[in-house]
Amino acid sequence: MEKILSFAVDFGSYAIKGGPRYKAWLLFLVSIILIGSYTAYRQLTEGLILTGATDQIPMELFFANFIFTAHVAAAAILVVAPGYFYHRKDMKELAVIGEIIAMCFVATGITFILFHMGRPDRLLHMLPGTGYTNFPNSMLVYDTIVLNVYLYLNLVGISYILYKKYVGEFDTKALARWFTPVIYLAIVWGPLIHICTAFVLSSNARMSEWATAVLPFGFLAMAGASGPALVVLLFLLIRKHTKVHINDSVIDLMTTIIGWSLGIILLVFASEYFTGLFSNTEHAASLNYSMFGHNGLNMYVPWFWGIVGSIFVCFVAILTPFIRKSYDRWLPVVCVVIFLAILLEKPMMLVFPAFSPSPLGEYTEYHPTFIEYFNVLFTWAIGFISLTLLIKGAVGILSGEVKYHKPIATK
């Protein structure tokens, strides 16, 4: 018990220690959270009318961002899997970072869903016992289950690894018997949360742009690009500013995964666009809308071409050995572009244009409100502050700076 207490204290105090730039980053996030708690309060008391959502486009930025968080969360297993499935020694130590990313992004996604709900106060209606779940019909029920299970699997994994390392008992050859299944389950569960999220969308026959069999594949490919992009950025930062050693081979594996994933995204796009546009039936109406606009409504057109273009450029860039190996300069730039392109793909290509035409033929543009923007920033800030603190603490333990010392003074 005393060990656990000292683990929490040491972990926490190391997490908030840092240079002025680190402090400034934390302060920045805290200030967003402070502003955001006002906008969140406004939305919780006055309702979703403060967002840009309408009966024509009922899914807001929260929903779009939720899909993106599921991308990154699912992709975090790409850091865990090589260590445990392929026994790569350089990656086994880093698995815990992947799990932290997964946990933080799943938690962020769940927060987005709370903002998305019209009645978050009735959450109990979904829980077994106090509620009634529409099992096995509703895809949202599956999604809720897989997201929560993934959250707790990762929580268990992280706590076990970090604690064992802290007290100096962690040995990859002699893991606890219950722990190996947990971590393997977490690895399998990653794609599962993503496939379920894709099915929440593709199960709606009337959303002709979503009701496509390639949606889960596209999602997994986007996960494979956006998640490792974040991982590369984090690894480069960790390796530059801390004592944790990360091999070039780890970064190279990640960039390989990004490259393959971008290629698959482009293939998925191409097959969707070909299938839609060759016969150009009503199922391609939303696609036409986002590609070329409709009767002067062309808000999404620059986004469409910009995002597809930047994904293509990043694909070419990451295949170039010079850029792939430019760890200090070009690789981070490419990774930031990939992360942002896929983040913006969600609202501007996947979610909003898909609602036009509506079932009765209406074409609509979505205009988010300031309150909505701030609530999105608020949620991201919570996500990033927990990500920052957890990774900082984990780095302290991985580098051996934070470890358990037997209390001497008590004797």
Binding site: G47, L48, T54, D55, P58, G118, P120, T133, R206, P359
Partner: protein, 355 residues
């Protein structure tokens, strides 16, 4: 020709009702101008009167169908107390059960509909929808252009590829291919033609769309908590106190029939219809879904839906699909009937017919 006959029907049947409706609409516009904050009448009355507040017991109540009879009685008493205080009039919340051996169906004659939208407004008045901010209407009337038949000999060679050894008449791209010929397509539909527009416009026909009460409703499949479900009469209803506001049903509905209370509903007390049903037209709260219930508060008592009663041309017919003598069954037997968006395999019990 037929439109003229319908116009005379309007004059004789329903002049009174129309004027009243018109005045009411002006009243709504006035109220809209007065209420500036999204927190509305309800909240301001609520703060003055503790009875008008939502009680903890109401927040914690279970799914209506799963409640015991005693709990149902309590829940209804709570709601009646709250609504009566909120709207300043004695409100009845009925829980009249579904009738036995009844499957409700609706038939709408699109060759008769003149697009006057009296059904829309009658529905709003009957079913206590939010009047403004958000505006909620359960029926939407599509105004669809009849064909303009701009086929032309000049466009015969607008094919692709433009010229080949086979001839200049390839697959038409543009040209005569894209000439609109009318038909029940939502592509050119106008859903927001002005309220003061003279109807019917000779160049258009009108198709009202409301909840189609599907036999296989995708919304019911999508709801994670079964707040929306089919009742024994085949009508899809919502327990507004159970809905969590996730809007999965709205995403699933191929008819755009579901409406969300994006903010606190604005229902002026003087316009509130105090005769309500728990699953039907009782006032809703912020953040829940609502939709047409075929006026469950009326049909469970053997009356017709409000939209049917308001229709000046008799385009709307309602009845029991299990009864061969009902209006709907006779129409199914004798008219050219179709279902809207049949390809969605939702099997609506709302039929459109011609003739």
């Amino acid at each position: 020709m037929s439109e003229e006959i319908h116009e005379t029907n309007v004059e004789t049947d329903d002049v009174q009702e129309r004027r009243r409706g018109f005045l009411r609409n002006i009243g709504i516009a006035g109220a809209a101008a007065l209420v500036s904050s999204p927190v509305s009448v309800e909240a301001s009355v609520g703060s003055a009167n503790p009875d008008a507040e939502t009680t903890i017991a109401e927040m914690l109540q279970g799914h209506f169908v799963l409640m015991s009879d005693e709990d149902k009685k309590k829940a209804i008493a709570r709601l009646e107390k709250r609504y009566s205080a909120q709207y300043g009039k004695k409100t009845i919340v009925s829980d009249a059960p579904a009738q036995d051996g009844v499957l409700f169906g609706y038939a709408l004659n699109i060759s008769k509909c003149i697009g006057c939208r009296r059904c829309v407004h009658a529905c709003v008045q009957e079913n206590n929808q939010s009047r403004n901010n958000p505006v909620i209407q359960w029926i939407q009337v599509m105004k669809i252009p009849k064909g303009n038949f701009s086929f032309s000999a000049d466009k015969l060679d607008k094919g692709y590829p433009e010229s080949s050894r086979i001839g200049d008449y390839g697959v038409q791209v543009g040209g005569n291919a894209y000439t609109p010929v009318g038909g029940l397509s939502t592509e050119e539909a106008q859903n927001y033609y002005p309220q003061d527009e003279v109807v019917p416009d000779k160049n258009f026909f009108y198709v009202p769309v409301q909840c189609q009460q599907c036999e296989k409703p995708p919304c019911v499949k999508a709801c994670p908590v079964r707040a929306t479900f089919r009742d024994p009469n085949g009508v899809v209803v919502i327990d507004y106190n159970w809905c969590i506001g996730c809007r999965m049903c709205q995403l699933a509905c191929p008819y755009g029939a579901r409406r969300f209370n994006w903010g606190e509903p604005n229902l002026p007390p003087e316009e509130m219809n105090p005769k309500t049903h728990y699953l039907g037209n009782r006032p809703r709260m912020r953040g829940v879904m609502e939709k047409c219930t075929f006026c469950v508060q009326r049909t469970r008592e053997g009356r017709n839906p409000a939209c049917l009663e308001a229709c000046p041309v008799g385009a709307r017919k309602f009845g029991n699909l299990l009864d061969p003598e009902s209006d709907v069954r006779k129409i199914l037997a004798t008219k050219k009937v179709f279902r809207f968006k049949e390809e969605m395999s939702t099997y609506p019990k709302f039929f459109y017919f011609i003739g």
